[in-house]
Symmetry: C2
Subunit: 348 residues, 2 copies
């Protein structure tokens, strides 16, 4: 997370650790901003409301940028606003939000809290340099482990706020977690998800051996390969150019084809697993994840499966153009910087 | 769990699912009973207080039985009490509480909520026959999977209560969980701990092939072996006879020996992992877990490591007597009913 802040680990999905951050930071009725441009941002609105917070949603259309001007204006207009929340990588659309700009818009007096579930390890994230008070991440995306672990980094001033926060909590209580972490034998207060921690240890060693910036670059290249493939097929990208560094590529499905049907076909015919959209985009887009242990050949194979399926459905003008474009994009990327298909250390 | 009730699965430690049950069942200020005789019971007192409940603790000394008479008297004296909580297997001492008697003492109008983290799969548990409204279990004990999954069974009348419960919740919200479970493709509302679910599936197949009652019997035999070994060494059991069907055997350490030191020696010299006590018993007892995939030879090896270590410390009169007694106990148990060292299906 590129931070010197306290870092806590929880046995839960990332949604649990995010709930924990709300419980540990806020009091009932507290006024916060959630800037949204997709399904995950809206989840945090819903969660804040479930905990009795006074949530001001600054909504932007799905697939577009966050409205940082409106965030700044809202903060300036209302000194009662204590915190501002947004998603780093909004995987419902593939947009990677500019959290540095978001934090600047929120200003010096408002706590920033970032959902970096799928951003962490895949997209540039500089917690301390960008002044992000609380960042919540998950293990199952770019960190390459199975789901069930989540992380929270907490700045000193967030910890200050925590001391006055009145929402009830226990399982996710940061005091319990920090006490256990700082004890003679560092531990978690409740039973830890041991197998996942062991896997995380191995994954982090791989990432450190590769280098974090190299890992970010690897994800950028995979995105280029995926987008080139999608455009080679002749499909429209949902979010370009907001997805340059996104670990998920989203494309509109051709008219008359149901996204869910297409996804099922890829799985049944080729054992390739991609997903349809969510919310109002459910049947309109497909989403291809390419983070963590997904390598360039996986992406190219996915493009091939998509081409072959669309060809079988009779809606593809030039089968083969997608993979050709994908391979060409990879070759071009490798010209400037060699991109190992998987982290080098995993080959050892 | 021997129930027809709704069963929900959560990506968390068992403590998280227990917190979820409190959030889903109660409203701030609600009056509940927690009957305690060890560290885990006291955890639920602390948790209830953290959520603003009016908790009446009916405490018994650690290592003794729950005081069911006092539970019944408290319920009769105070109609404001809405729920009664206790631990099934109190692993801090090894006592297995009689939850059937507890539920009867709580009476027909009070909701019962049972922590069966280490009881589930190891000790007789008849959720429906005994009228247990909510039972919370974990995967990492007798169900043999790594930690990180927890379960809640919820009776119809507990669900009724849930509809009026006002404590804030989101991650553990039963409505979200049930909606997702009942959708066309059964799922969890948030990212599930996939690898653990796959492992659980395999473990449950093994348990079903063995038969649940056979598994309970297997745990009883392991307890006999462990207790025979401890007594053969000449150590005092903490809780006899309350541990007849316990998946954890607790023994007092000899005077002048520190429990933590003894535990460390076993691990460093023999790679055998047992634990010291908790709370006020921390340095007075050792605890040997024998549930799930732990088999009779593991228990005998543990007794051997304990004997050898105590011998090296110069406090053992007759090295070898412990394992002799343990093997004799196993032979006697096998005389009446063959006890496979591990579930039969795992040998396939």
């Amino acid at each position: 997370m590129q931070t010197e802040n306290e870092l806590l680990v929880f046995a839960s999905s990332m949604t649990g650790a995010f709930e924990g951050a709300m419980q540990n930071l806020f009091s009932p009725g507290e006024r916060i901003i959630v800037a949204t441009n997709g399904a995950f941002g809206q989840r945090w609105v819903e969660m804040g409301q479930a905990f009795g917070l006074d949530v001001l949603e600054v909504a932007s259309p799905w697939g577009s940028d966050l409205d940082c001007d409106r965030v700044a204006a809202a903060v300036n207009a209302d000194p009662a606003i204590t915190a501002a929340i947004c998603v780093h990588c909004e995987t419902s659309t593939g947009v990677v939000n500019n959290v540095q700009e978001f934090a600047a818009a929120a200003g010096a007096d408002v706590l920033t809290m970032i959902d970096s579930a799928s951003g962490l390890g895949a997209c540039e994230l500089r917690t301390d340099a960008w002044g992000l008070d609380v960042v919540i991440g998950g293990g199952q995306k770019a960190l390459m482990i199975p789901p069930g672990l989540a992380f929270a980094s907490i700045s000193p001033r967030a910890w200050q706020r925590h001391c006055d926060a009145k929402l009830p909590r226990y399982y996710f209580d940061w005091d319990h977690a920090l006490d256990a972490l700082k004890s003679d034998i560092p531990r978690t207060p409740w039973t830890p998800a041991i197998s996942l921690l062991v896997q995380l240890d191995a994954a982090l060693r791989m990432l450190l051996a590769e280098g974090l910036e190299a890992a970010w670059h690897r994800h950028i290249v995979l995105g280029r390969v995926a987008r080139a493939g999608i455009q080679g097929i002749g499909l429209d990208l949902l979010t370009q150019p907001r997805d340059e560094n996104s670990p998920v590529t989203t494309a509109r499905v051709p008219l008359g084809i149901d996204a869910d049907y297409l996804v099922r076909q890829l799985y049944e015919r080729y054992s390739v697993q991609i997903v349809a959209g969510s919310g109002h985009l459910t049947d309109k887009i497909i989403r291809i994840g390419h983070c963590g242990y997904v390598d360039a050949l996986d992406v190219i194979a996915t493009i091939a499966a998509l081409e072959l399926t669309l060809d079988e459905l009779g809606v593809l003008p030039r089968p083969g153009a997608g993979v050709a474009a994908a391979v060409a994009a990879l070759a071009m990327a490798r010209g400037s910087a060699a991109v190992p298909p998987v982290p080098a250390s995993s080959l050892a």
